[in-house]
């Protein structure tokens, strides 16, 4: 129960206009957005954050681990809201982006606050039945100096971006859920391919 309270509070304090809504979806097949289907072998806390392009799922509660699911992001769409008053360039997806540019887009989102990012690997991969990308990375989060590991998969289909990115503390948590995330990535299906 505690994390159901803490997660909305954290995100609300982080600047969301309204507290997010936690939902705990059942195991099995889940439709994310209109076209992305994933299969879960366990329950994830599902956090709806208004204004976010991604759905956020978590096992331990945000900000400990965060599975970001981007489904059907359209050309020109911002990946995350820009802080009020900020003059920073928003992270915007363009359908013409190559995989390394999409990885760079995720990197820019993770480092806007001064966090550091180190790309470990970036390679072609299949995601959701489409030709796409896989990348691994390390982050040191500015706000609390926690060292994080991350993995991402994704593809562009009909000009829309489908991607999952999982990030969690390098110690304990990333390894605990990495296989589960890999299974989700491997079982993902994009409709209409």
């Amino acid at each position: 129960m505690r994390k159901y309270i803490l997660v909305p509070c954290f995100l609300w304090l982080a600047g969301c206009a309204t507290p997010p809504t936690p939902v705990k979806p059942d195991s099995g097949e889940q439709l994310v957005g209109d076209r992305l289907t994933v299969t879960l072998d366990g329950s994830w806390n599902h956090i709806y954050i208004p204004g976010q392009a991604a759905e956020h799922w978590t096992m331990e509660g945000l900000p400990i681990d965060d599975l970001q699911i981007y489904s059907g992001i359209k050309d020109g769409q911002a990946m995350q809201p820009v802080a009020r008053g900020s003059s920073a360039t928003p992270a915007v997806f363009h359908s013409t982006m190559q995989p390394d540019e999409i990885v760079s887009l995720f990197e820019s989102m993770l480092t806007r606050d001064g966090s550091t990012f180190q790309l470990v690997k970036s390679e072609p991969a299949t995601f959701g039945g489409a030709k796409g990308y896989h990348f691994e990375f390390k982050v040191v989060r500015k706000v609390d100096s926690v060292e994080l590991s991350g993995v991402g998969y994704g593809a562009v289909s009909n000009g829309e971006l489908f991607s999952i990115v999982y990030i969690a503390p390098r110690m304990t948590f990333f390894g605990r859920y990495q296989a589960r995330v890999e299974n989700i990535a491997q079982g993902a299906r994009i409709k209409g391919i």
Partner: protein, 384 residues
Amino acid sequence: MNRRGFLALGCACGALLRPGLSRGDGAGWKPPPRFARPDIASDEGGLWALMDREETRLRRSPFRIKDRGLNDYIQGIACRLGGEHCPDIRVYLVRTPWFNASMAPNGMMQVWSGLMLRADNEAQLAAVLGHEIGHYLARHSVDQLRDAKSRTAFASVLGVVPGVGALAGLGVLGAGFSYTRDHEREADRIGVMLMNKAGYDASEAAKVWDNLLLELEARPGGNPSKNGFFASHPPAEERQSALAELARTMPGGTTNADIWREKTNAFRREWLEDEVKRGQREESVALLTRKIAAEPEQPDYLYFRGEVHRLRAGEGDYDAALADYEAASLEAGAPPELWRGMGTVYRARREIPEARASYRSYLDAAPKAPDAPMIKSYLEELGQ
């Protein structure tokens, strides 16, 4: 007063948000003797204790730049400025891409990488450190603590101001607004005097503001000191001109530009990467254009300006990016990533032979790059 407020008060922070310097008040100041640790039961003692704990946290931070040579060098600059207070000043270099330095009343000084990137020479860094030491020597944070307690106005200092966090974070914000204009003027005055006494060219202090103004003016919407929340503070121009006027009374001195470049050379690329990640495209172009004008043969500045143009991808940006990449490629020690950037631009323009050649050059220069498998797949798609 809560803990966060206390911390913000304790950290006397850098020049970005600070008000101006009045003319004619540069004489008659003598540095105080070294400070004794205050009684823990006093308000100042409590502030020191909290800063001590923050210093312990900072010492362990993964963002601390631990290179011994650079630390010794910057500590030496602080010591030249601090004089007999040198044993009490402990400098910590922090990898944070914004322009800032700060000093706490217990002697803990933070110097951010964004400041070191922007400094053109040792004297410019000394100008900012001297200002922070000025706050320390004049014990402004203690004045502010007592003033805030008496006025119970600290909530306004701590208010979370939307968007300002992107500049530097809450610590900077809190400290940036915690000093009065008089305190800032006094710190500027002391800082320039310390620069002069240490043998630095005091006119470099005003140049720090010249440079910062270039970036501020490049922002979409213009200089934030002229509008909105910042309107209550004197504009940066006023401060720049006041510092220049004061420096005219203290001619001579050195800049140590060559030593500065030599000492920071190994860190430049990492600091530039962090600068680009801030996502402040216009500011970054202004900064890099200034740097290129000063060092036209330094390929890092050319490459990273090319990156900013490529990422901005506005009208003419791809042409500008290619020009920068090509200019960088002609210089020794250019980053191999420039070839990847060129490949990306050429591919976006559907200039396939050029894209192929660029990607091949990237793989030749960085065969073990973490994204090499991805780039190889591009070559397969584009045809060998």
